[in-house]
């Protein structure tokens, strides 16, 4: 048997070069369930994010509680929350697009942020803003520098995908080509700055802006590697750049020193990648066609998804995030379910205007897109007969629960995949008012990251969800 770390090594220009290999049969143990050295099969983590929450409604409760319900306040049914809990729940109307994946995912309802809300600066309780920070990082908004008026905010710490990608208990068999890949679909962002632009952050004001163009994504992942001579020259160039950064840092203040430290880390990563030869793997076809505007979002997701799955298959990364739409998305949708179709209204507007028809179509679109993406993971079969989804943990979520009211209650959580056997799928868990970070902690443990707790600044929990196998 050959070990997972088996590589072809060579020396060139004084640097060692390594050739990563995809998973081959001789690497497995005799029962094909684990790597020969006793390590489990590689687990993957993916975030699938959509903006604007769900049309789950709290209004019917408000109308019931107030003494004089507004006659225009028509009670609206909750079409998301399954009526039964436990294993083998019944799909609800909004989950219908996921029907073909039944048995492969669990749903958690009732979760909400538990993080503290500082009183100054004002506005840190805003649903989109507090919600997106908790969903993505388990922490409150970064208080210093927060400015509600122009909607300027930063996360307080790295998002979960980066936490996973950089955790010592994750890439235990050596660093891959890319620690993570960030892709996105809709370009209809609310603001052209800050957390409205990206769902993956390395820290405050450190965005991993998703690649939204299939051609650019293909180039990023499967760029033709330079030959050895060129790679050597580029490595020498980067060595000089690294030295320039180191010489400059001591002259700067703390914040700018930190920004340059991040720049330095990135240069080092790129240099490391230069030294990895091309993975011996079948590349996908380069994408063709333009994907302008919002009308072709589903087709764009399809193309991006193919490239991503090829990267996963070739083990070029094990962490990714997909920003289908970002928080408070202004993706245009009409009542017939046509993205940017005639009479389309921006999703964010539709939420606030109480335009349930359009919001329903947005929800359908989100769920269909999620199902289409999961199709690609189930179509990809490992050497041992398991699908890519079986070895993955995919967190499908949004920045809050009910769009109408900016309510952070009932934030949707869909956890798909079996994480290599760590997750028992097909549960509905209901935890009304529960701490959202139970989802984070469950994801981490399923990936083999044994943090005792997760969540910060009031959001701490050590409570996992019941479908995590011990």
């Amino acid at each position: 048997m050959i070990t997972r770390r088996t590589v072809l090594r060579g020396m060139m220009g004084g640097s060692a070069f390594a050739l990563g290999l995809p998973l081959l049969e001789p690497m497995l143990n005799t029962s094909g369930t684990a790597l020969a050295q006793g390590a489990g099969l590689a687990k993957r983590y993916g975030l699938f994010f959509w903006g604007g929450g769900l049309p789950w409604s709290s209004r019917h409760k408000q109308a019931a509680q107030s003494g004089n319900p507004d006659p225009k306040d028509i009670p609206e049914p909750d079409l998301w929350t399954p009526t039964t809990t436990g294993k083998g729940f019944q799909l609800t109307e909004y989950m219908q697009p996921l029907a073909r994946h039944k048995g492969n995912f669990s749903v958690v309802t009732g979760l909400e942020p538990h993080t503290m809300i500082p009183t100054t600066p004002v506005g840190q309780g805003d649903g989109h803003m507090r919600g997106v920070c908790v969903t993505l990082t388990g922490d409150k908004i970064k208080t210093e520098g927060f400015d509600h008026d122009p909607h300027i905010l930063a996360v307080n710490r790295p998002t979960l995908d980066q936490f996973v990608a950089k955790h010592p208990e994750f890439y235990t068999d050596g660093a891959p080509f890319f620690k993570s890949l960030e892709l996105g679909v809709s370009k209809a962002v609310l603001h052209d700055y800050g957390t409205w632009l990206a769902v993956s952050h390395n820290g405050p004001d450190s965005l991993n802006i998703p690649v939204r163009d299939p051609q650019a994504f293909f180039d990023h992942v499967f760029a033709v590697k330079p030959d050895l001579a060129e790679a050597t020259r580029r490595t020498s160039v980067l060595d000089v750049v690294l030295e320039d950064i180191r010489q400059l840092q001591p002259k700067l203040g703390a914040r700018d020193k930190q920004r340059l430290e991040e720049h330095l880390t990135h240069v080092s990563e790129i240099e490391r990648r230069l030294k990895l030869a091309q993975a011996a793997c079948t590349n996908p076809a380069a994408p063709v066609g333009a994907f302008d505007g919002e009308k072709q979002n589903m087709a764009k997701l399809d193309m991006l998804g193919d490239i991503l799955v090829a990267a996963l298959r070739c083990d070029m990364t094990r962490v990714f995030s997909i920003a289908l739409t970002t928080s408070a998305s202004v993706m245009p949708m009409n009542a017939a379910g046509e993205v940017d179709g005639p009479g389309a209204i921006q999703m964010h507007d539709a939420l606030h205007a109480g335009n349930r028809e359009v919001v329903l179509q947005c929800t359908k679109f989100h769920m269909m897109a999620f199902a289409n993406f999961l199709d690609k993971l189930t179509a990809e079969v490992d050497v041992n007969g398991q699908t890519l989804l079986d070895s993955s943990c995919i967190l499908g979520t949004s920045e809050y629960g009910e769009g109408y009211t900016h309510s952070n209650k009932e934030t949707p959580v869909v956890i798909a995949g079996k994480a290599g056997g760590a997750l028992d799928p097909d549960w509905h868990v209901r935890d009304e008012g529960g701490n959202y970070s139970r989802a984070h902690l469950t994801v981490l443990r399923a990936l083999g990251i044994n943090e005792p707790s997760f969540g910060f600044n009031g959001g701490e929990t050590s409570d996992v969800l019941p479908f995590l196998k011990a």
């Binding site: 506005g123 008026d149 690649v211 000089v240 930190q258 990135h266």
Partner: protein, 558 residues
């Protein structure tokens, strides 16, 4: 995308709306609280209050080049108009991409893209024999010539890093060139250039400064740093050789020297025009026009968004540059330029296709000034109707530099769906005014936008709504009633807050950061100088670059 104002109405009482309408600072004119105070300053000229508060400078920042700056810089470095490089997008907090560039960290992919761009540019330049000869004037012979490489490193490095290189840097880059040039001597300068284009000394505008003997505790930007500050402000690009020489000679160490170089740069009209376009496009959110879907009958060629943007920048540059006139007339001028699609919108005969021609709006017409341009009327709306709230918010935040406090949490929706009788926009949002939980904040915004209802969400004039109901375009600017967007523009032209706001925004743009608390006094003095000049743009710029805030900084608090 269109800016979106969160609609703020709640059954719960809001405690949020006690904030003042203006955002601090000793600004004259206008009321100082929501709904309170008297009329704004109706006179022209300098009846501006000036603060004596001395300057307490803010720390320096480290701004990365924005994508347009990067493109301009490489064009000027090599004398080649390269195709637009694929770089990570800029972020634009507080209106300006330079503020995003000084506050955000670049991502790994962003660094990767810089690398791809650097190698692509260097490859293209150094295979061009004529071009490379201009960059490397000494003989690059069969054997790699270290002396020649050293000269290239110093000469090119001065321009790439916007300062002379230190000895250790010269050695580092020369050694790189010697190493890679072993097989082909021209690879040496090519990879030196590629490395420099990835260096933080190129990608960031480094401002380390030197202690200022004349001001204890302060730092002075060095001469080379001043050259960059001037050039990036006035040209959105790196210093040219003349400016670098002025730095070397010590000319930039005095305000007079700074003034002289600024005047030289501003005399060059093409880059100055480009700078004004860039600045005001960001200040006025012109890029948001790209996301608007105009009705086909109004925009058959799909180009009116571009035309609208060009009209706005032409308007600004005409007053700021060509006429060197009073910037307040931006809100009242009846002169504008139209192409075929704008001519139809404003009711003029169309000029030849693809051209703009100047027109004069009628003296008793609905339109005059910036607020009545198609661009400004269109950008801040909903797709399906006008939004007095968003229009009002733009004017309040962007033109008056006012603040709008956040809405309460858990707001119920504004029920927009017509239940029975048709409603006007005013009626739809009247809950903002009637509900005390809403009105505290909404009266900061809505009465401004409500006075502009005679223009629809695409900037077209209308006498009534589509449902036949009449338009009521009565509005209110902090206690002063008005009817119509043109009248509001007239009020804004006399409102000192607008000028003070422009000064503040210019200062932020010039500094690549927000203004600090210790700069308020200086800003009010700049505002006074601006008023004294007759509210002219170039004198404002010149006063700004000579100001102490532009030439000094303090180190960060420990």
């Amino acid at each position: 995308m269109r800016r979106y104002a969160f609609l703020a109405c709640a059954a719960l009482l809001s405690t949020a709306c006690n904030g003042s309408v203006t955002d601090g600072g000793p600004v004259a004119g206008g009321p100082t609280g929501p709904g309170g105070g008297g009329a704004s300053n109706t006179g022209g000229g300098s009846s501006v209050e000036v603060s004596n508060a001395p300057l307490d400078p803010s720390p320096a920042v480290l701004a990365r080049l924005t994508a347009p700056q990067y493109q301009n810089v490489v064009r000027d470095l090599f004398g080649v108009d390269f195709p637009k490089p694929a770089l990570e997008i800029d972020t634009r907090p507080y209106n300006f991409s330079v503020i995003g560039a000084s506050s955000s960290s670049v991502s790994e992919r962003g660094v990767d893209l810089y690398g791809n761009s650097a190698h692509a540019i260097a490859a293209k330049v150094f295979v061009d024999q004529a071009l490379r000869a201009t960059l490397v004037p000494c003989q690059v012979a069969g054997d790699v010539d270290a002396a020649c490489l050293t000269q290239f490193v110093k000469d090119f490095g001065l321009r790439a890093f916007r300062r002379p290189l230190q000895d250790a840097e010269v050695q580092r880059y020369t050694a790189l060139g010697v190493g890679v040039g072993a097989t082909d001597p021209w690879l040496g300068p090519r990879y030196i250039a590629a490395a420099m284009l990835q260096s933080p000394n190129f990608l960031y505008r480094v401002e380390v400064g030197e202690p200022a003997a004349e001001r204890a505790g302060w730092f002075r930007y060095t001469a080379y740093e001043m050259a960059s500050r001037l050039s990036f402000l006035l040209r959105n690009s790196a210093p040219d050789l003349a400016l670098l020489q002025a730095a070397a000679s010590g000319a930039l160490s005095t305000p007079e020297g700074v003034l002289a170089e600024a005047q030289r740069l501003l005399a060059d009209s093409a880059p100055t025009r480009a700078m004004i376009d860039q600045l005001f496009r960001e200040y006025l959110d012109v890029p948001l026009l790209d996301d608007v879907k105009f009705p086909v009958e109004m925009d058959p060629t799909g180009t009116i968004a571009v035309s609208m943007g060009q009209e706005v920048t032409s308007l600004v540059s005409r007053i700021a540059l060509e006429e060197q006139g009073d910037m307040r007339t931006l809100f009242t001028t009846r002169g504008t330029v139209v192409d075929a699609s704008l001519a139809t919108l404003y009711g003029f005969p169309a000029p030849a296709a693809g051209t703009f021609s100047p027109v004069e709006l009628s003296a008793d017409g609905q339109r005059a000034g910036l607020l009545t341009t198609g661009a400004m009327l269109t950008i801040h709306n909903r797709p399906n109707r006008t939004s007095p709230t968003i229009r009002g918010m733009f004017i309040r935040q962007r033109l008056l530099c006012g603040t709008v406090p956040p809405p309460p949490d858990n707001i119920p929706p504004l029920n927009e769906m017509d239940m029975g009788a048709p409603t006007t926009v005013r009626e739809k949002i009247q809950q903002h005014a009637l509900d005390p939980a809403c009105s505290g904040c909404h009266r900061i915004m809505d009465p401004l936008g409500l006075g502009m209802e005679e223009f629809d969400q695409y900037g077209r004039y209308r006498a009534m709504y589509d449902n036949g109901l009449p338009i009521d375009n009565s509005g209110d600017l902090d206690g002063i009633p008005f009817n119509g967007a043109r009248a509001l523009g007239d009020l804004l032209s006399k409102d000192e807050r607008v000028s003070a706001c422009l000064v503040k925004q210019m200062y932020r743009y010039a500094s690549s950061r927000l203004d600090g608390a210790g700069e308020e006094g200086m800003l009010s003095r700049l505002n006074a100088a601006y008023a004294d000049s007759g509210h002219k743009f170039q004198p404002l710029l010149l006063a700004l670059v000579q100001s102490e805030g532009f030439r000094y900084f303090k180190s960060e608090a420990p």
